[in-house]
Amino acid sequence: MKTDADARDELIDLAADFYDQFAAGRIPEMELPTRTKSNIEYDEESGVWTYGDRTSVRSANSVNGARKLLKAAFTIEFLADQLDADRSSTLRELYYLSESWDNDEAQFNSQDESNDLIEDLEIVTGVTREDFHMRPEESGAKVMGPLRLREQTNRGDRDIHCQLDVGQGGYQIPNNPDTIEFLENDAEFVLCVETGGMRDRLVENGFDEAHDALVVHLGGQPARATRRLTKRFRDELDLPVVVFTDGDPWSYRIYGSVAYGSIKSAHLSKYLATPEARFIGIQPADIVEYDLPSDPLSDSDVNALESELEDPRFQTDYWEEQIELQLDIGKKSEQQSLASRGLDFVTETYLPERLGEMGVI
C-alpha cells in the first residue's frame, strides 16, 4: 500500500513527463498497455492474467487525443489536491466535479470517460485508485461468516465479528479493504455467491454456521473491494475459495474476474485476482446430472460462450469441456433453479456434494 505522499508524487511525475515532452518540442503522449482480450497474458509467477507487451499511445496529435490528455492534466491536479487535503470522492463525483473546471474542453462527457481516465492513470502511475482516494459509488458486497476483524473508519477502529456482530445482511465490505485487519478466524473456506437471493438462502439455512463458511456476496460482476478482500482471505487466512454462480456464460465471466482478473483491470490482477479460486457451479454438467429446470441458450449466449472459448483465461481443459458441453445441450440454468428440488436442496445436498468432490470439506 502506497502512502498518500507516494501516490501524489507519482501523479506529479506524470504531469512532469508531459511537461518535459512539451519542453523537448515533442507532442505529449501517454503509453498504455492495449486493453483488449488479445493482449492479456498468463503470468506464471503469480498465476494471474495481466496485460501483455502490446501498447497503445494516447497522443495529443489528434483532437481526441489532445482532449484526453488535457482532461488527464486537470484530473491529476484534482487528485493531487485531494490527497493534500486528505479527502476522498467517488468516481461519479469526479464526473460532476469536472463541470466546475474553468475549461470546457477538460470536462468529461460521460462517467465512462472519467472512469476510464482514472484507470489509465492507475496503470501509468502504478497507483491504485483507492490510493488516489477515489471510490466507486457503492460496493454492495457483504460477508457473513465466523471471522473477527478490525476496520479503520473515520470514526475510529471498529472490531466486528462477521456473524455475531452483524445483522441478517452481513458485514459490509468497505471501499478500501486494505484498511481491514483480520483478528480471529474460524472459517474453513470462502464461498463467493453471485446472486443476493442465493446468499440469503444460504444464510437463512445457516450454511455459514453449519460448515464454517465465509459467504461473500458478489452481487453480479464483483466490485474491486470484494475481489481484493477475497484475495486477502486466500492469501492471509489461507482459505480455499470457491465461486458459486448461475450456469450461464455471463456468470463464468464473474468467476473469471475473481480468479484470473478482468480484462479492464488486468493491471491490478496481482492485487485483485485469486487464481486459487475454484468454480463450484452451476456447471453445465450439473444441469444434466441434477436435471435442473433450464432455459434455452439465446444467440447472444452462444456468442458469449464461443467468445469464451477464445478467451485465454478460459483455455483450460475444464472450461473447454464445460463450455462445449453447454453448447451441446443448448441450455442454461440459474442458481435458484436448485429450488426445484426443495429449499434445502442447495445446502443439504448440492453444495456439500460439490464441496466434497472438490475436497474442500
Binding site: A16, F22, R26, I27, A60, N61, L69, L70, F74
Partner: protein, 826 residues
C-alpha cells in the same frame, strides 16, 4: 439562306398530318384547334412561346452568319394587348425571303434536315405571327437591315387565313440605328402570369449561349435585365448530314424514292444515305430481296440423303439423260454425269443453285464436245433433276401439269418430308415424340407444296404463317403441341437453310410506286447492321463553355461540366452535356435547380415529364455529397444542374416540345454525363470537408495544447514550457498529393508525423492503369481499383506511380491514418 428557313418545316411530319385531316377548314380554325400543341394554349404561355420562337430564330440567324448574337427583347403593354419586340444583329432579311420565314404556318416541303438547330424546338415563328394576328388583328411589323445597306426596310405582313398565304401589306424604306439585323414586332392578347417561365427561359438561354448578349425589358422589371457575353467563341458550325438508314420513316423514304435521280436501289442507298457504301448497300439489298421475293428453300440432294427415299445420284443422272434429247450419247452422258456429281457434292441445294450448276456443266460440256445446250435443254434438265431432288421420283418428266400435281402429294417417303423431319427433330425439344415430329414435317411439306412454282420460294413472314398453320394442324389432328419457341426454331432452321434468290432487285421506280415494296426496303434497311451516323452534324456547347455559362449566371463556389461522346438513337446522333454549379450565392434551401436544354434551347414547361428529371431523381445523390431525402428524388442543396441534349432529332414527349422523351439510350447518356460532373462535385466536397476538418483540428489543438501546457506547469510548479515545437509537428502531418504528368500519375505520400505510417491507399481510375510502381490493380466494372499499402517511416516520403492512357478520372481514398492527421490533395 438564313437560319429562318431552316427553322421551318422541321415538323412537317406532324404538321402535314395535321393539315391533311384539316384541309377543309380555315387555317385560323386549324390553329385554334391545335394551339395547345403549338404552345399557344393560354395568353400567358403564348407570350413566352412567341418570345422563345423569335429569340431562337434570332440566335440561329446570327450564328449562321458568323456574328456574335446581340438580342434585344422588349415586352410592353399597349392598351389591352402586349407588344413583343425582338431585335437581333443578324444578317437581315430580304423581301423575297419574308413570306418563307413568317409565312404559311404549314409551309415546308423539304425532308427533315439532319442538322442540329434550334428550329426543331417549335413550330416556328410563323405560328407566333398567326397567333398575334388572330388575337389582336394587327399585322406583324418587320424591320430589316441587311449588312452594308444604308437604309432599313419596313414591312407589314398579314397571313390570309383562308388561303394560308402571307401578304406583304406595307413595304417602305425606313431608318434604323442598327447597322444590320432584324426587328420583329408582334401585338397579341396575352398576360404576364408566366413571368417566371419567361425569366427562366431568358436566363437559361444566356447560360447555354455564353457567346450571346441578351437584354430583356418587360413591364415587371424596373431596369432592363442584361446578360453579358462570356465568350467570343461562336458554337462550331454544324454539318448537315444525309439521313441514316436507321432513322427514316416510311413516308419519308417514299418521298426520297420519288425524288431521287438514282435508277437502282443500290445507287439510291449510296447516294441518299449516310454511312452506306457498296458493301452496305449490297447487304441491304440482300435483305430487301429476302423480304421482297422471299428465299428459295434448299433441300439435300439424293446422294446425301438416306436411302429411305430410294432416289440416288444415279436417279439424277437418269432423269437428266431422259430429259435431254438429240445431243449424242457421249455429250448427254457427260452432261448428266457432271450435273449429278456436282449436285451430289452439295449439302443442300435450291432451285436457283441447281440452275446455276446445270448452266455451268452445260457450258463445260459445250466446250468439250462442241454440242450446243440451249436454254430449253438446260431448263428441261434442271426441271428433271429438281424433280428427283424434291420428290425422289426418277420417272420420266410427264410435263408441267403433272409435275405440279405430283409435287402436291407429300408422300411419306418424300425427300422433303425427310429433310424437314431431320430439321424439326433437331430444333425441337427431345420430349417431342417421333410421331409428332413426323406429322409436323409432313404438314409443313404439304403446305409448301401449295407455293407457286416449283422453286419453294417464300418470304419469312409467309414461312412464319405457314409453320404456324402446320403447327395448329398438328395440334388439332395429332394432339401434339408445337409452342411459340418450337415454331420459331423450326422457322429459323428452315429459313437459315434457304438461299437468297439471284433475281435483280426491283428498280427505284417500281419500289417508289409500291408501298409494300418500300416497306420491305425500309425493313431491310433497319434490319441491316450499319455504321452509326457521323457526329459532326452536332455542335455541343463543350464542357468548357457549359461551365462558363453557369459561371456567368450563377455565383457559386464550384463548377463542373462534362460532355459525352456522341451516341446514336434511331439513326439520329446525339450528345449529352451536363454541368453543375455548387455553393456560393445559390440558395441552399429546397431542391436543386435543374436547367434543361435541347439543342441549346431551354425547356421551361413540363419539368416533371422530362427524361432529364427522371434521371436526376434516380441518381443516389448522397453518394456525391448532396442531401437527398429518402435516398431518391430531387436532391436538395445549393446546386444548379444543367443538362443539354443536342441531336439532329431530339425526341420529345409531345408536340409542344417541352420535355425530352424517356429514350433509354439518351437516359443512359444523361446519367453518365451527370455522374461525370457529379464526381467532380464529390471530390470538391470531400476536399472541402477534409480541409475543414484539418482547419478544425488546428483550431482545437491550437487551443487545447497551450491550456494543457499551462495546467502541467501549474501542477509541477514550473514555468510554462515552450510548446511551439510540439505544435509545429502536429500541424504538419501525413499528406497525399497527386501529380499527373503526361500519362504518368504520381501519388506522393509525405509523413511528417513522428511514427511510421502504414497507409492503405485506393485509387479508383476510369481507365486501365499500367506500369504500377507496386500495389495491385483490380478491374471492377470498367473502373480500376489500384491499391497500395505503403509503410512510410517518420519524416520520410514515398512515390506511388502508374501510367494511364489519355484522360482519366481519379478518386482516391486513404485509410490507415487518422483523418485528422491526414491531408489528401489528390
Amino acid at each position: 439562306m438564313t437560319s429562318f428557313q431552316s427553322s421551318l418545316g422541321e415538323d412537317e411530319g406532324i404538321a402535314e398530318e395535321l393539315a391533311e385531316s384539316q384541309r377543309e377548314i380555315s387555317i385560323a380554325e386549324f390553329f385554334e384547334k391545335n394551339k395547345h400543341m403549338l404552345g399557344f394554349d393560354s395568353g400567358a404561355r403564348g407570350l413566352v412561346t412567341a418570345v422563345k420562337e423569335a429569340v431562337d430564330n434570332a440566335l440561329d440567324a446570327t450564328e449562321e452568319a458568323g456574328i456574335l448574337p446581340d438580342v434585344y427583347v422588349e415586352i410592353t403593354e399597349v392598351g389591352d394587348y402586349y407588344r413583343v419586340v425582338i431585335e437581333d444583329n443578324g444578317p437581315g432579311i430580304t423581301k423575297e425571303q419574308l413570306p418563307k420565314v413568317f409565312g404559311k404556318l404549314l409551309y415546308g416541303s423539304r425532308f427533315h434536315k439532319r442538322e442540329q438547330n434550334r428550329g426543331q424546338q417549335g413550330i416556328g415563328i410563323s405560328a407566333a405571327v398567326l397567333y398575334s394576328q388572330l388575337t389582336s388583328g394587327q399585322p406583324a411589323k418587320i424591320t430589316s437591315r441587311p449588312k452594308g445597306q444604308s437604309d432599313a426596310q419596313y414591312f407589314e405582313l398579314i397571313i390570309d387565313t383562308d388561303t394560308n398565304e402571307p401578304e406583304i401589306s406595307v413595304d417602305e424604306t425606313t431608318s434604323w440605328d442598327r447597322p444590320h439585323g432584324t426587328r420583329i414586332e408582334l401585338e397579341m392578347e396575352a398576360n404576364m402570369r408566366a413571368r417566371s417561365q419567361l425569366h427562366d427561359y431568358v436566363k437559361h438561354t444566356a447560360v447555354v449561349n455564353p457567346h450571346a448578349r441578351i437584354e430583356l425589358r418587360e413591364p415587371g422589371l424596373e431596369e432592363p435585365w442584361k446578360f453579358e457575353r462570356a465568350t467570343d467563341e461562336l458554337p462550331a458550325e454544324t454539318e448537315e448530314i444525309r439521313p441514316h438508314p436507321h432513322g427514316v420513316e416510311l413516308g419519308a423514304l417514299i418521298k426520297m424514292l420519288e425524288a431521287t435521280e438514282s435508277y437502282s436501289v443500290s445507287g439510291f442507298l449510296q447516294e441518299e444515305f449516310t454511312r452506306v457504301g457498296k458493301k452496305t448497300a449490297d447487304n441491304v439489298i440482300d435483305a430487301f430481296r429476302d423480304r421482297y421475293y422471299g428465299r428459295e428453300l434448299a433441300w439435300s440432294p439424293p446422294s446425301a440423303r438416306s436411302t429411305v427415299t430410294g432416289a440416288t445420284s444415279a436417279d439424277v443422272e437418269d432423269a437428266i439423260e431422259a430429259a435431254v434429247a438429240n445431243k449424242g450419247a457421249d455429250a448427254t452422258s457427260a452432261f448428266a454425269d457432271g450435273v449429278a456429281e456436282t449436285v451430289a457434292g452439295n449439302d443442300h441445294l435450291s432451285r436457283a443453285e441447281l440452275e446455276t450448276i446445270v448452266g455451268n456443266v452445260a457450258d463445260a460440256v459445250e466446250d468439250d464436245t462442241g454440242r450446243t445446250f440451249g436454254s430449253t435443254v438446260r431448263e428441261n434438265a434442271t426441271r428433271a433433276a429438281w424433280r428427283v431432288v424434291t420428290t425422289g421420283d426418277a420417272g420420266e418428266d410427264d410435263g408441267d401439269e403433272a409435275d405440279g400435281d405430283e409435287r402436291g402429294v407429300a408422300a411419306d417417303d418424300s425427300p422433303i418430308v425427310a429433310d424437314l423431319y431431320v430439321l424439326v427433330d433437331e430444333v425441337t425439344s427431345t420430349r417431342k415424340d417421333d410421331e409428332a415430329v413426323r406429322a409436323m414435317a409432313e404438314a409443313i411439306a404439304f403446305r409448301l407444296a401449295d407455293l407457286e412454282g416449283d422453286a419453294y420460294r417464300i418470304t419469312r413472314d409467309d414461312l412464319d404463317r405457314l409453320v404456324a398453320d402446320a403447327a395448329n394442324f398438328v395440334d388439332e389432328q395429332h394432339d401434339a403441341t408445337f409452342g411459340e419457341t418450337a415454331r420459331e426454331n423450326v422457322v429459323e432452321a428452315v429459313w437459315s437453310r434457304a438461299r437468297t434468290v439471284p433475281d435483280d432487285p426491283p428498280k427505284v421506280r417500281e419500289v417508289s410506286g409500291d408501298r409494300d415494296a418500300a416497306a420491305d426496303l425500309l425493313e431491310a434497311m433497319r434490319g441491316t447492321d450499319i455504321l452509326a451516323p457521323p457526329t459532326d452534324c452536332l455542335a455541343p456547347i463543350t464542357a468548357e463553355l457549359v461551365e462558363a455559362g453557369l459561371r456567368k449566371e450563377y455565383d457559386a463556389d464550384f463548377y463542373a461540366a462534362a460532355t459525352r461522346d456522341a451516341e446514336v438513337h434511331g439513326g439520329d446522333p446525339f450528345i449529352v452535356e451536363a454541368g453543375i454549379a455548387y455553393g456560393g450565392e445559390i440558395p441552399a434551401e429546397g431542391s436543386v435547380e435543374l436547367l434543361r436544354f435541347a439543342n441549346r434551347v431551354p425547356l421551361v414547361y413540363q419539368r416533371g415529364a422530362c427524361a432529364t428529371t427522371d434521371v436526376i431523381r434516380t441518381i443516389g445523390w448522397r453518394n456525391y455529397g448532396l442531401d437527398q431525402p429518402g435516398g431518391s428524388g430531387m436532391p436538395n442543396g445549393p446546386a444548379v444542374i444543367s443538362i443539354h441534349v443536342a441531336s439532329t432529332n431530339v425526341p420529345f414527349t409531345s408536340e409542344s416540345k417541352d420535355a425530352i422523351a424517356n429514350v433509354p439510350a439518351i437516359e443512359d447518356e444523361i446519367e453518365l454525363a451527370v455522374r461525370e460532373a457529379a464526381r467532380e462535385l464529390k471530390s470538391y466536397l470531400n476536399k472541402r470537408r477534409s480541409m475543414q476538418q484539418r482547419r478544425e483540428k488546428q483550431d482545437v489543438l491550437g487551443r487545447i495544447l497551450p491550456e494543457m501546457a499551462d495546467k502541467v506547469s501549474e501542477v509541477t510548479g514550473r514555468s510554462r514550457p515552450d510548446i511551439d515545437g510540439a505544435l509545429a509537428r502536429i500541424m504538419n502531418n501525413v499528406s497525399v498529393e497527386r501529380e499527373v504528368d503526361d500519362g504518368t500519375v504520381r501519388l506522393v505520400v509525405e509523413n511528417h508525423s513522428d511514427v511510421n505510417e502504414r497507409l492503405e491507399i485506393t485509387d479508383i481510375v476510369s481507365t486501365e492503369p499500367t506500369d504500377l510502381s507496386d500495389g495491385t490493380a483490380v478491374d471492377m466494372d470498367g473502373e480500376w481499383f489500384v491499391q497500395w499499402k505503403p509503410e512510410v517511416a517518420s519524416g520520410d516520403e514515398r512515390e506511388l506511380t502508374y501510367a494511364v492512357d489519355g484522360e482519366a478520372d481519379f478518386e482516391v481514398s486513404v485509410g490507415g491514418v487518422e483523418t485528422e492527421k491526414l491531408t489528401v490533395n489528390a
